[in-house]
Symmetry: D2
């Protein structure tokens, strides 16, 4: 397991927030959001974050890079329901030369519903592992430095 | 609308059947299969059919062809529920030089639950419209001839 | 087929618009949005519309009503891709005592990508067909009157 | 994190296998299975396993019990592609009075593609935590005993 940290349950530890309203298609016969959808929510938040910091995924692909998910972890604390508005808090929590890790906290009106972590690699478009973009390594170092 | 025919509700009109067990993830908060999943069921049946007649999608792609969906129609007659076993009946119901049409009937223990139609084009891998493979045009002509 | 009309391709015919950014999870190996996702986009727009006119789905359920999809039709004109921002235009296009019909047009920067129709019934929470809420019948009559 | 063990990469450690063919809808624009689908594959395998040992989910619900996912972990080792046939190997790997844990290994022709763990609770139908069914606790004890 490369996952190095459990995500914090403190909203203040996260530097970025993205809002998502739960779709009906995302619910299941228990009347709650099906657990597989949180990975899609994390991804949507990650895409919004990378765009917000000036490194959208579309620019990664133009640079010949993909960022596949190597590992994911989700903790389902309280269920989410149709039409609720989720705040997906996100932070870049670690990086090595070849991988980076993002942490997520999902809240509704400040109540913690879910948390999670994804670990990502960096590959060329034909799938071979390569180094992370320099800006990502630097940013991760700063962030991890600040939070410790 | 290119759709030329309402799908028959008579199982005997269909030449191929593919079984699918409903996944929990496919249900919604009404306790039934979400209506968007029928298009995925039709697609799974279509893939199985093309493999069964010796023209799997993987061979289309090797031949440089894609088969995008141009139109879809679904009639939701009775709901399907978690863990039910669906019989997806399928038939190739029409073809022109550039498009073909498939009809579907979903039954559970012989009871009709849903029916539908998809219309497909044929394109090169870079998305330009091209002629259907010859075998498909011939097959459609035979079938349509037979059923009239 | 209960569907009574092909959706207009003229944005001006639609009274409501809802924006959706394409998620990566919604793409497929052809590099475009998988055709089943348009039904989820239509649903998200429909939910937003009903909330905007003061009759959110949550109030339907509190009133003991569901609104199942009876039929769907989608025309896929041009593909949509990851991270594109879709304008889903919607209008209530017909209603009887027991069913109503909505039309959809999906554009990106004004370019038509897709159109569709859904037909809905009205049931009690245990699934029995019932009359539409009065406001919906009245609204549909006005709209259909105006557009003819 | 309640997850207590990384899943074994040795197929022989798993007592049950369920086959799933990758659907086209499950692929993404990287040309591979989107990472969120593995949770649906694990779920389908879990449902098949519980049915195979004589305790199908439908009987849980008749007994007034649900089994929500509390945590999930997935390690994506090699990608899976459209139309590949996955062997999802599964084993019940731990249990307490209130939770149980399942491990998964996904192989294609014997090659490891992915592994994972899910942790489950047990609740009444209105969502309150309750004890696991007795048979499940006993089975987990035996299995964990055997494998140590």
């Amino acid at each position: 397991m490369r996952l190095s940290a459990e995500p914090s349950l403190d909203v203040a530890e996260y530097g970025f927030t993205h809002r998502i309203r739960v779709r009906f298609v995302e619910t299941d016969a228990m009347g709650i959001v099906h657990h597989s959808n949180y990975l899609a929510y994390f991804e949507e938040a990650r895409v919004a974050y990378l765009a917000a910091i000036g490194h959208p995924f579309t620019s990664w692909r133009e640079a010949g890079l993909e960022s596949p998910v190597l590992e994911s972890f989700v903790s389902y604390r309280l269920p989410c329901r149709f039409d609720e508005v989720l705040d997906v808090h996100l932070s870049l929590s670690a990086a090595t030369r070849a991988t980076f890790q993002m942490s997520y906290l999902v809240t509704v009106d400040g109540e913690v519903r879910s948390s999670g972590v994804t670990v990502h690699g960096c590959t060329t478009l034909d799938g071979r592992a390569t180094r992370l973009p320099a800006w990502l390594g630097e940013m991760a170092t700063e962030r991890v430095g600040r939070s410790s």
